[in-house]
Amino acid sequence: MAEQEPVIGIDLGTTNSVVAIVQSGQPHVIPNRTGQNLTPSIVAVTSAGKRLVGQLAKRQAITNPENTVYAAKRLIGRKFSSDQVRRAREALPYQIVCGEHDDVRVQMAEKAVSLPEISAAVLRELKLDAEASLGRPVSKAVVTVPAYFNDGQRQATKDAGRIAGLDVLRILNEPTAAALAYGFGKQVTGKIAVFDLGGGTLDVSVLEVARGVFDVVATGGDTYLGGEDFDNRIIEMLVMNFAKEHGVDLRKERMALQRLKDAAERAKIELSELNETNINLPFLYTPPGGTSAIHLQATLTRARFEELTQDLVERTVEIVDKVLNEANVHPDELREIVLVGGMTRMPAVQKAVRRHFQRDPSKGVHPEEVVALGAALQADALMQPSSQVLLLDVTPQSLGVAIAGGYNRVLIPKNTTVPTSVTELFHTSRDGQTTVKIMVLQGESELAHQNELLGEFILSGLRLAPRGEVEIEVTFEINSEGIVSVSARDKETGLEQSITVTASGGLTPEELKNILEQQADSMLEARISSEVEQKRNALTSAAAEVSALIPRVRQLTGSSEFGREALRRAEEVIASARAAAQGEDLAALTDWVDQLERTRVLFVGVLERLGARQ
């Protein structure tokens, strides 16, 4: 009988990548052709025009900084004009240029190379490693991405696979993969949290596990918080001290910057085990005019490093809190906390997690390999009907449509288990409107332009009628492959239009805002916007609460000038808020609810203080 074709799992990381496979039911890492489990995610072109990938590329990075591309994952699927890319351009020694569709390209030697091509070079390397180790061709893979990657970034990663000659069976979220590998064969039952702090991103996921089923309850994170931010703090410190001492800004020296980056990363890693480390960079800077070169010598203690990065560590814990909150999970309910990613070796990170959850995180998973192992397990689960593993994954971000007034109406909220579909009824937003524009948005903001535009289409030929009379049914669907499709149907005529979201729109907020303004005439209106309804209810109850407090406040403070003034303002707020409750302006409603809440807090505080004195 012919053996089934091998399917690999790939963790395409910001700094390092790993490839793994399941053989005879057990997942294991495939070492690369130099015998290492980790392959640096670095691609370079030498002066002779030769392309290098992995360790070879890393080794020559210092002498060839302009043509050595690392951290491509931070740029993939993003728009050149986005803030993130603008920030990255300042920090990276290689040159980033703008492609034809506002996409990011990297200038390597004479060529502007797209990001999927760069990631493809890494993927191809891993594919070759796997083929060398297995002795057979490999053409199918599951590739992981951070949970917080949006649709565009996922598509671009898939494209990279295609360029590398790999059929990407599934794009899998990294923390989910980690949980899969962690829970595999362990008979874990209960809720587990995965804290994945890698080179570029922080991902947090909560899963419920039983009988081989891994049910993702919630996922969240920060795409711009990772190991490199910690490195950058060291670099900044070194650059500042160097400038103070020698009056030279090293950030303008590409080669020096590359060496600083290496040294900072090494120092950071060493400080996970040692209390102190030395940074020695001889001949770091040669001043023009033939004077002798300047060396950099510094000592960094763990305490100082922790001080430099304290806010970053605190931010990680805040994000964990947010995800648990969204998942309605109390920290006590967690069975395990799994730490993943090289950065979780940092003692301060472990300490913060321990303090926050009041318990020791689980050890024993190899933080750098566990994601690839999980990807291999998912690949195996998909291909082998006999597999015991089933993953129930969720949408990491909300999906909605733009509605009149520039708001985002969410149809599929984040953390919904896929596959799923939702249908909602909308109506026209003005008299005589014969076309509607359906703009598909991804993101959490109430304001349409602060989300990502995934795609758009027009439904035309609507009956001439007053505002609100024509009904349009909008259906969102995410199938089991994670592909999003959206359709809109005129209920009366049965006319229908639809799109399958494939390419990333990825406009900047300003562009999107402009488009929305231009399209103001053809927007949908939510039927009875439940957001408006909710805010109205919140407003009414907040107003009632404040009103109820007024008599006591008057009794206690009414004689003072401050008291009279506060009471007068409170009454004004209540009156205006109640007036706003008649309208449908969501932003105004939100505003008044906030003001009422502030007034309430003020009054309660006053009553507590004065009440206690009596």
Binding site: A210, R211, G212, E273, R345, G364, H366, M383, T420, S480
Partner: protein
């Protein structure tokens, strides 16, 4: 049922897809339930616990999630599976949320149903009959069944802890005193037994890998063994030793070495390995302490002496 539905069922059963007839029937049968209440959709009786809801959802997902048929030609069954799975997810979510807010504490629902309005007389001639009917009610019958399951689990505990766990899970789902109080306590015991059995297996795997000279595999197995049974000193020691050999990060190895020494301070090799790891990590004073402890156990141990010289 109109014959039109029968025909479409027949069409579906005859559809040329990569599913056998039984699976097709199973899918069509579940699809026919989608309009019913959340309990029925999950194949449960009303009043089940949150745990039972979760397990029913997971078990049904194993059958109906489209990923279970990845790469297969499913024809109209793909849409059917997606519909079923979505409905299962919704039912699971609704019931879980409802049970989180108000866990089923008393048989209020069945009792209320068992006492129809009307008879307000002090002595109700039908009271006995009603009581008997109540006893047959799934909720009360389930109590007796939970007790039997717990007893069986206790018998299986030593020899087949996995089976015992399964029985206890069922008992928990049924509730009652046996399900709520006894089952969780026994569950802890069964898990410990299971883990210690597993640890034993991992130790064997580790020793086989060590014999073959595969340090990484050996380390991995011993690490698992030590995790499954953290009080097993030999597992912790082997884990530390092989992590060191396989070139894993020292901090990881140190954790296990420390565990080994804590569990068995008079075990010379454990003291040695911890000493060596600390030495390599640059923790001189700690290394010295453990190497001196090793020398106390055997004053002539050459390895301890050699390592100690490196500290100085």
């Amino acid at each position: 049922m109109p014959s039109g539905t029968d025909r479409s069922q027949d069409d579906a059963l005859n559809e040329a897809v990569d599913l056998d007839l039984d699976r097709k029937r199973e899918i069509l049968a579940r699809e026919a339930l989608l309009g019913r209440d959340d309990w029925t959709v999950l194949g449960l009786k009303p009043g089940a616990t949150a745990e039972a809801v979760k397990l029913a959802y997971f078990d049904a997902s194993r059958v109906f999630h489209p990923d279970r048929y990845y790469g297969k030609n499913l024809g109209t069954f793909r849409a059917r599976l997606e519909r079923i799975f979505q409905r299962l997810s919704e039912a699971h979510e609704t019931l879980t949320e409802a049970l989180r807010r108000s866990p089923p504490s008393a048989p209020s629902r069945p009792a209320a149903r068992g006492a129809p309005g009307g008879s307000t007389a002090g002595v109700d001639p039908r009271a006995d009959e009603r009581r008997a009917r109540l006893a047959r009610h799934p909720y009360l019958a389930s109590k007796a069944r939970a007790g039997a399951l717990v007893e069986e689990a206790q018998r299986q505990m030593r020899t087949a802890p996995e089976k015992a766990l399964h029985l206890l899970e069922q008992a928990k789902a049924l509730g009652g005193h046996a399900g709520k109080d006894r089952a969780p306590a026994l569950e802890v015991e069964a898990k410990q037994q299971l883990n210690s059995n597993r640890a034993e297996d991992e130790m064997k795997t580790g020793s086989a890998a060590a014999h073959d000279g595969d340090a990484t595999a050996a380390a991995r197995a011993y690490v698992r063994a030590s995790e499954l049974d953290p009080r097993r000193a030999d597992a912790a020691y082997e884990a530390a030793r092989w992590l060191l050999k396989a070139g894993h990060p020292l901090a990881e190895a140190r954790g296990f070495a420390q565990r080994a020494v804590t569990l068995r301070a008079d075990h010379l090799p454990s003291q040695l390995v911890l000493g060596e790891i600390c030495l390599r990590m640059g923790m001189g004073s700690v290394a010295r302490r453990h190497l001196e402890a090793a020398l106390k156990l055997d004053p002539r141990n050459a390895e301890a002496k050699a390592l100690l010289r490196q500290v100085r």
